[in-house]
Amino acid sequence: MPFDHTHLLGIEPLAPDDIRAILDLADQYADQGRSGAKHGDALAGMTQINMFFENSTRTQASFELAGKRLGADVMSMAMQASSIKKGETLIDTAMTLNAMHPDLLVVRHPHSGAVDLLAQKVNCAVLNAGDGRHEHPTQALLDALTIRRAKGRLHRLNIAICGDIAHSRVARSNIILLGKMENRIRLIGPPTLMPAGIGEFGVEVYDDMAAGLKGVDVVMMLRLQRERMDGGFIPSEREYYHRYGLDAEKLAHAAPDAIVMHPGPMNRGVEIDGELADDIHRSVIQQQVEMGVAVRMAAMDLLARNLRRKRTPTTVMT
């Protein structure tokens, strides 16, 4: 079955073969990115608009670079600064941009489900760059590619995801993806940062790092948002670091060749020890950034192929 999706709204709608298709193509783009000839023409003549209703530096830059490397015309809009302030609704904004005939729309929004809603109203390929606490599919895909390249496989691994699971779309997409690829997933964090009903997700839940990390092959750390640090969810930054921050001592419970991941941006000394984050023998954080561009190139390439195939000579807007 070839990759047959109009949008990339989440990991949930993808089959394991879809995930493999994206990762295989991304592998090629990753190698190409390391060569002198970084450019391709898969998106030549196409227009990519990045709509970020929430601040982002890395993801936006990554999508922008991915589009440019594939030859698209790329435009990035910081939506907080634009018409949203003037009271325009999400759908109106989408319709306005849709009238400019973009081919790819990359959207980040602070509310869960907002990107799904937008995708129903436009006739181009929509990529979810993160919606509320729901999904962040390209992050999960780049994590998967990083793991596959480091471990040589993406199945039957013991993977720990640590920290603020409750508010993390990265955690959700990763739980879904890694589950679909048949890995064993452990979630570690204080119970105040665990979502309700998490026991029904087919994961093991720990509130102790030493127990949770025992023998795992991959340690994924999550960013703890500043606004959650002061007494609301955890008592303090320093207590969090003491109990849940990843340092060499805690990592010693994991498998000897376990890799350390973080979606960035990191809070050094809050969820991860700075030295450990920079340890090239354990940390693959820089590779994650590199794979991010490759995965986004692959995802946009595959969606663009489907877009070209489905388009009839006369595209009528509805």
Partner: protein
Amino acid sequence: MIDTGLTLIINARLIDPEAGTDTPGSLLIEDGRIARITHGPDTPNPPKGARVIDAGGKHLAPGIVDIGVKVCEPGERHKESFRSAGLAAAAGGVTTMATRPDTLPAIDSPEVLEFSRRRANEATPVNVLPMAALTKGRAGKEMTEIGFLMDAGAVAFTDCDHVVQSTKVFARALTYARSCGALVIAHPQEPGLSAGAAATSGKFASLYGLPAVSPMAERMGLDRDIALLEMTGARYHADQITTARALPALERAKRNGLDITAGTSIHHLTLNELDVAGYRTFFKVKPPLRSEEDRQAIVEAVRSGLIDTISSMHTPQDEESKRLPFEEAASGAVALETLLPAALRLYHSGDLDLPVLFRALSLNPAKRLGLACGRLAVGAPADLVLFDASKPFVMDRFKLRSKSKNTPFDGARMQGRVLATFVAGTPVYEAE
């Protein structure tokens, strides 16, 4: 034909929620009241000049008394007016609407109540009984003029989905209301927990990344209110009980002799949280839809009588307020016209029989508001609904009479259509 004020409905199945029976018979209406009820399959001779309606073996029940209908006058007439709500009610078999005061501005003074009563009388073919706010502006700070408002016709006092957070203010309002004999309707919810929630916490909400409230928040709110009832002795009705966890507290309060009743909404009886899948904002209601286990527990509580009333919680919203990301979208659903067919799902599934359904739809709400309607008894007002319980149809939201079309049942297969609705013996709706 001369209108003699006499109508004989023959060949009907009479649903009597007081007796708990569903039997063949006929019913005579005279001067707006039920004048005679004949049981058995034999057709009595019609009195001279009577209009005879052959029900063709279909069901005749006391008209629905719906506590908690939102008509958006004053303030948001584009969402629902008394006229459109009245037509929807008549088509849905609702013969009495107790309307909510959560309008713009809130109905919190005798003057605003007077306006709304006048509009209702001009434009509505069914009975409209206005409710008034318990506190000014529904702000939870100062109580309204409960005495004057009762004189002006308020049947109950409620701040709707605004919980009176100050226990002191609420206790005083309950104490004062008791001295007036007023009924207070509250929304049992712990607002500290439920603030910002768009779904019920659990696997579903976690998967969809929606801010969620524990079902425990409802029990905590109810527990507080029950403690205040013990303290004040007020007459109290919980607008919507929707979770299994709240039921033991309700049961104990009733057993202890408190003057407490409880309702639930048709949506919580017939839908669950999974229906929201795909962020469908027409399924966003307040409180949010619950788990299937909760839904089943609530159905059982209606059957046992622990939950007294079923209401539509009719809440019109325009397209603009619903076509938004789920968290930002407005809550509420229109339901006057879908209340009966949705309730009949519980009849067709074998969960509830028709007398039990109409006990919760008509008899109990009428009793709670001190009305003579809601029963099939000689002398009672001839507020009646004649319906075909089995007629299948596919719900099309654009055929609704409500100005707002925000029903969660759009495209749903339903069974049961109203054939005719009578208010004080006068047909206010007849199906073509």
